[in-house]
């Protein structure tokens, strides 16, 4: 299978500041890749480089087998959807959809045909004669997607397309984008800071920080086997619990040195197990409590500090032998501050990171 997008040694400097450094990325034909990271991590910058909206300092970008490193954005065979919709306010919806095609001197009847098709797919036919100012946020973003659609390209680029919408609309359009991808089977690169969008949409997620890709993997792997402490803390809500401590006893035993210690037998080490200082990560949802704690390989007792009932479940802030621990309980269980409750977990679901390099052990 040929790569749809291939980025080789991409470097981007703004003056003396290095924004992206030696970045390599291959995206397969028809893949849905999400670039995920907090603001300033370089994800939008990378997308703009792919689109040709930023001139790169060094490296190469190939799209559909062509070297487009110094090609104009309009000639790269991409369509792009922006956070602020970026619709031309003085043109009708139809004019917005036609603008790029007119610039590319596409024949009139072909333009009409493509607009009709895109309007049908996105259900915006009744809006064609209106101006963007008269549309709701959701409708505007549909039109913006339509503008990418009519270009009849292999690659779609999304730059935080749902961030300006309210929660309900965001969920609706998320599903719609996923459906669109399944119908069209285009390559899609999607930038977001929202991990829910990333987890639900992506074939693969690239987690970025400081202009570098930290981990590039399918969502389940990112969730279950984060490569480093940053990725582990970034993915998951509420965030992963971290404890610092010492791994010894043939790397089978964890000790915080402050009164809490337990066996980590069953943890799958990425390489040969080594003893030494570590960060131990435990996802709140992997902690079992009450009667479900029975039978877990590791068991202990937690003192409840604070309770946040959310309806479906209850978030508990607790202390275990002086160590802060957050976990989730079933919303129907009664729990109060000051309670002592049994908890337990399976070391196979832990994450262990080297204390100094913060990479996965």
């Amino acid at each position: 299978m040929t790569q749809s997008i291939s980025i080789k040694d991409l470097t981007l400097n703004f003056g003396a500041v290095s924004v992206l450094e030696d970045l390599n990325l291959d995206v397969a034909q028809g893949e849905f890749l999400v670039l995920l990271g907090s603001s300033g991590c370089g994800k939008s910058t990378l997308l703009n480089c792919i689109a040709g909206l930023l001139d790169i300092t060094d490296g190469e970008i190939h799209i559909q087998g062509h070297n487009v490193t110094w090609e104009e954005p309009s000639k790269r065979g991409i369509g792009m959807v922006f956070q602020s919709y970026a619709l031309y306010p003085q043109m009708t919806v139809e004019g917005n959809l036609a603008f790029g095609l007119k610039n590319a001197r596409v024949p009139k009847d072909e333009i009409a045909k493509r607009i009709a098709r895109a309007a049908e797919v996105l259900q915006i036919e009744p809006l064609l004669k209106r101006k963007p100012g008269a549309l709701s946020g959701g409708q505007r973003q549909r039109v913006a997607i339509g503008r990418a659609l009519v270009r009849d390209v292999d690659v779609f680029l999304f730059d935080e397309p749902l961030s300006n919408l309210d929660a309900k609309l965001r969920a609706d359009l998320r599903v719609e984008i996923k459906r669109l991808h399944q119908t069209l089977k285009n390559t899609m690169i999607y930038v977001t800071h929202d991990q829910v969008e990333a987890m639900t949409l992506a074939d693969r997620i690239a987690i970025m920080k400081g202009g570098q890709i930290m981990q590039l993997a399918p969502p389940s792997e990112i969730y279950n086997r984060p490569v480093n402490k940053y990725v582990a803390g970034f993915i998951g809500s509420p965030a992963m619990n971290f404890m610092d401590g010492q791994l010894d006893g043939g790397a089978q035993h964890f000790d915080t040195g402050r009164g809490l210690d337990f066996s980590v037998q069953g943890y799958e080490f990425a390489a040969a197990p080594t003893s030494g200082p570590v960060w131990l990560g435990l996802r709140p949802e992997h902690v079992q409590s009450g009667k479900w704690a029975e039978g877990q390989p590791v068991q202990m007792e937690a003192l409840v500090d604070m309770v946040e009932p959310m309806g479906s479940d209850t978030q508990v802030w607790a202390k275990v032998n002086g160590q802060d621990l957050r976990f989730r309980m079933d919303g129907q269980e009664a729990v109060a501050i000051g309670d002592r409750i049994p908890i337990g977990f399976d070391p196979a679901r832990l994450s262990l990171f080297d204390k100094s390099t913060e990479t996965r052990l």
């Binding site: 703009n48 689109a51 040709g52 909206l53 104009e72 954005p73 309009s74 000639k75 991409i78 369509g79 792009m80 922006f82 956070q83 602020s84 919709y85 970026a86 619709l87 031309y88 306010p89 003085q90 603008f99 790029g100 610039n103 590319a104 913006a144 503008r147 730059d159």
Partner: protein, 303 residues
């Protein structure tokens, strides 16, 4: 404070304590003061109008404030068509048409150049563009007197000295700092993603300017146009320095008529001429309302 901030603030509703009964002593003082000041500001307009409607005999017996007894439009006719400037006696009409011939090309060229430059500075920055913009802004603070003679030389070298086109060029040059600033600030506020979208859609430098930016920016063209119309029409110094007497703009001709030492002073004709000269900017002012204020608030940065 930037012009944009000021524009926004002008749109906000008034502040301060809640209004009380209209006849509270506080309000009587407030409105009384405002009315007294209004009289000071309106008085010259009133004097101009009444004087221009009297004949000389009536002026000699009365004072400047007394309303006309016999309204006559003769001074207006004379001011327009017969008043003498010391060189010729065909009134202000010549100056009026000169001003129109100066205004129209100056307006079009200066606004176009400023809009294009503002567009470059807002959307297509290149290495060094901000430095040139800084130099341009500093230029707004250089007293005109410093540049008067160098411009004489430049115009002479270009073969434009004394011609209308020379004056058009001078107006375009001195209009640049403030108008470029105005356009740049307006264009900067257009979301960047719109430019990105247009580039993905295959529009280039000129395509984006004519098809996306200009259609979105009509208000700022109007504001800039207002600044230019009043500025160019009211100019005196450049008119005197860079044109020959047959091309003198209206302000110069007005000054020559009123302050000419020959003959008997005809105050009614003078006031009619003065009013005629002020009519164009006054019309622009009264019809443009808030946009004029936006323009000068923007110009406030210039000085």
């Amino acid at each position: 404070m930037t012009a944009a901030e000021m524009n926004m603030k002008l749109a906000v509703t008034p502040r301060g304590a809640k209004p009380r009964s209209p006849f509270a002593p506080r309000n009587i003082m407030l409105y009384g003061t405002l009315i007294v000041f209004s009289i000071y500001y309106l008085l010259p307009l009133y004097v101009m109008i009444v004087t221009s409607l009297k004949d000389m005999a009536e002026i000699r017996v009365g004072n400047v404030f007394s309303p006309p007894v016999d309204i006559t439009f003769q001074p207006w006719v004379k001011a327009w068509a017969e008043a003498c400037t010391g060189i010729n006696c065909d009134g202000l009409s010549r100056g009026f048409w000169n001003s129109v011939r100066i205004l129209i090309p100056s307006l079009i060229i200066s606004v176009s150049v400023a809009a294009l430059t503002g567009y470059v500075l807002a959307c297509w920055r290149f290495k060094g563009s901000e430095v040139f913009f800084g130099i341009l802004l500093l230029g707004a603070f250089i007293p005109y007197q410093v540049l008067l003679y160098p411009l004489v030389i430049i115009l002479r070298e270009l073969g434009l000295f004394g011609s209308l086109w020379g004056l058009v060029l001078v107006h375009t040059i001195f209009a640049m700092p403030i108008n470029v600033l105005l356009f740049r600030n307006y264009f900067v506020a257009i979301p960047e993603e719109l430019f990105k979208a247009a580039r993905v859609d295959g529009a280039g430098f000129w395509g984006i300017f004519f098809r996306i930016v200009i259609p979105m920016s009509l208000p700022i063209f109007v504001v800039s146009g207002i600044i230019q119309v009043t500025g160019i029409w009211n100019d005196f110094l450049f008119g005197v320095v860079y044109t020959r007497p047959e091309n003198y703009p209206m302000t110069v001709q007005l000054n020559n008529i009123v302050n000419s030492v020959q003959g008997v002073k005809e105050y009614n004709v003078n006031m009619a001429a003065t009013l005629l000269t002020g009519l164009v900017p006054l019309t622009v002012y009264f019809f443009s309302g808030k946009l004029f204020i936006r323009g000068i608030a923007a110009g406030a940065v210039k000085g």
